[in-house]
Each structure stands twice: as C-alpha cells, then as structure tokens.
C-alpha cells in the first residue's frame, strides 16, 4: 500500500485538489482512501487493480467533503496551495474564472469534466471510476459543458 501511495499519491491529491480547491482536504481524502485500501488489502481479489479500488473512495471522499462544505460559500472555498508570490502572480484570471465556474457545477458534472479533461480518461474509464454508464457520462459531459459555458458568459 505504501509503494502504491508513493507512486500515485501526487496524481490523486492533485485530482482531489482540483475537485475540492483545498490542499489539506485533498490530502485527507487521499489518506483516508489509502487507509481503507490497507484495511481491505487481504480481501482484494486482484491486487493489480488496487489503484482502481482506491480511485472510487477518492471521488466519494471528495463528494463527502463538498457536502460538508455546502453550507459555506462555494466560491470562497478555494484555498490556494502555498505557492510562491511569483507563481501566484502568474496564475491567470482566466484560470480562476474557469475553476470558479467548475466548482459551481453539480458534483457529477464536475467529476465528469475533471476526469475527462484533467486525467484525459476515455468515456469507458470515467464511467467505471464513477460507477455510471457510458451514455450517462456522455450526456452529463454535454450538460456540464453547456452549464459551464453559461456560467463563464455570466461572469463577462
């Protein structure tokens, strides 16, 4: 489990960070997912697929964290990771607009877009990770793009 964590933690924390907007919360979600994998390790039917077993808990953990945070202003939820002033200065307004709009989408729509555009996952992999059908992935992505386009238009 530790070796798997060392190999994949960065990607999964980044995924959770994109979803949640907070570094500490992202790391907590990934730690919990690997803790769960560790507890169930003896019951895994195929250890080679362990990474798949940990992806779904990461997504579920992100959903739970977002639900807990729902009462707060979602736009204020983004807590940038500690980066240098220079890096922060380079972060474009364009990117912040897109991320703000992305975080205003419903959970499922945001997950589909992040898995598709950040991880470059094909529809089959997105469907498997989210536990939904390929056709649902396709229709959700279509609705998500339309909604995101509207949200970005509103901010102009």
């Amino acid at each position: 489990v530790t070796a798997l964590y060392e190999a994949h933690a960065l990607g999964l924390v980044r995924l959770a960070y994109v979803m949640l907007g907070g570094r500490a919360a992202a790391e907590d979600v990934v730690q919990e997912a690997f803790g769960g994998l560790y507890r169930r390790w003896d019951q895994l039917s195929d250890a080679d697929r362990a990474l798949q077993y940990v992806c779904s808990p990461v997504l579920n953990g992100c959903r739970s964290a977002l639900r807990r945070r729902r009462a707060q202003d979602i736009q204020a939820a983004h807590q940038p990771a500690a980066v240098s002033a220079e890096t922060a200065a380079l972060a474009s307004e364009e990117r912040r607009e897109v991320m703000r709009a992305l975080r205003r989408l419903p959970d499922r729509q945001r997950e589909v877009l992040v898995l598709r555009f950040y991880l470059d996952q094909p529809e089959t992999a997105v469907a498997q990770a989210m536990g939904i059908s390929q056709s649902t992935v396709r229709s959700t992505a279509h609705r998500a793009l339309a909604a995101l386009g509207r949200l970005l238009e509103e901010t102009r």
């Binding site: 489990v1 530790t2 964590y5 060392e6 933690a9 960065l10 924390v13 980044r14 995924l15 960070y17 994109v18 570094r23 992202a26 790391e27 730690q31 919990e32 690997f34 803790g35 560790y38 507890r39 169930r40 390790w41 003896d42 019951q43 940038p80 990771a81 980066v83 890096t87 972060a91 474009s92 364009e94 990117r95 897109v98 991320m99 992305l102 877009l113 992040v114 555009f117 950040y118 793009l145 995101l148 386009g149 970005l152």
Partner: protein
C-alpha cells in the same frame, strides 16, 4: 482556436500543478487492524473485549454442544476443532469423528445413532 474544452483542460492542469511533486505528506496508515474488522477512522478496536467474554476456543465448543445436545440424542462433544467443523462425539453406544456431515466411528466402536446429532 481556444475552445471551452481547451480552457477547462488548461485550468485544471495548471490548478493541479499547484501541488508540487514531493510536497505530499507521507502515508499515515492506521494501526494494524485484523482483516474484516472495521473500525471508524481514529477509533482503535476495543482490545480483548471479545476474548474476555468468549475465549476463542470456547465458541465452537459451545456451538457444537448446543447443536449436538438436542433432546433425544444423548450425544456428548468430547472435542471440537477451533472452527467447530470437526467434532469428536460420543453417546452411550459409540465414539467417533464428525466432520463435513460424515461420521467416522473410532475402530472397534459400534456405529449407532450418531448422525442424528449432526
């Protein structure tokens, strides 16, 4: 052309890269928890609670006794394996081994009526 898809891709990739390689805290695994025994995060299992009330070896014996000592069988469990799947039983007429639904009498022991206890 800067499509909406390109904008999303650029935004999520740049955002993700705010997490620098090597900056992730090491994995903190929970204390060793026996397989299949679930606990809430941060709450250690209550050590020894089960063993204090029902020592492991007594559970299959108690179950076997309850099973074998049904009214009318007159059968005693002399020994039970840890899982309770294998018993050495006796009644007034024979002694033998009960395992997997099969009774095997010990040599020179008569084979009468034990299967009714299984």
């Amino acid at each position: 052309m800067n499509t909406l898809e390109d904008r999303i891709r650029a935004a999520v990739v740049q955002t993700a890269e705010e997490i620098a390689p090597g900056s992730i805290r090491p994995l903190s695994l929970p204390d060793q928890v026996p397989s299949g025994r679930r606990t809430r995060a941060g709450r250690a299992p209550k050590a020894g609670r089960g063993s204090a009330r029902w020592p492991r070896v007594l559970i299959p014996i108690a179950a076997a006794r309850a099973h074998a000592a049904r009214p009318g069988t007159g059968t005693d469990v002399l020994w039970a394996s840890a899982s309770g799947s294998t018993l050495i039983v006796s009644n007034a007429s024979t002694v033998g081994v009960l395992a997997g639904g099969q009774f095997t009498p010990l040599p020179d022991a008569p084979d009468v009526g034990i299967m009714s206890a299984w």
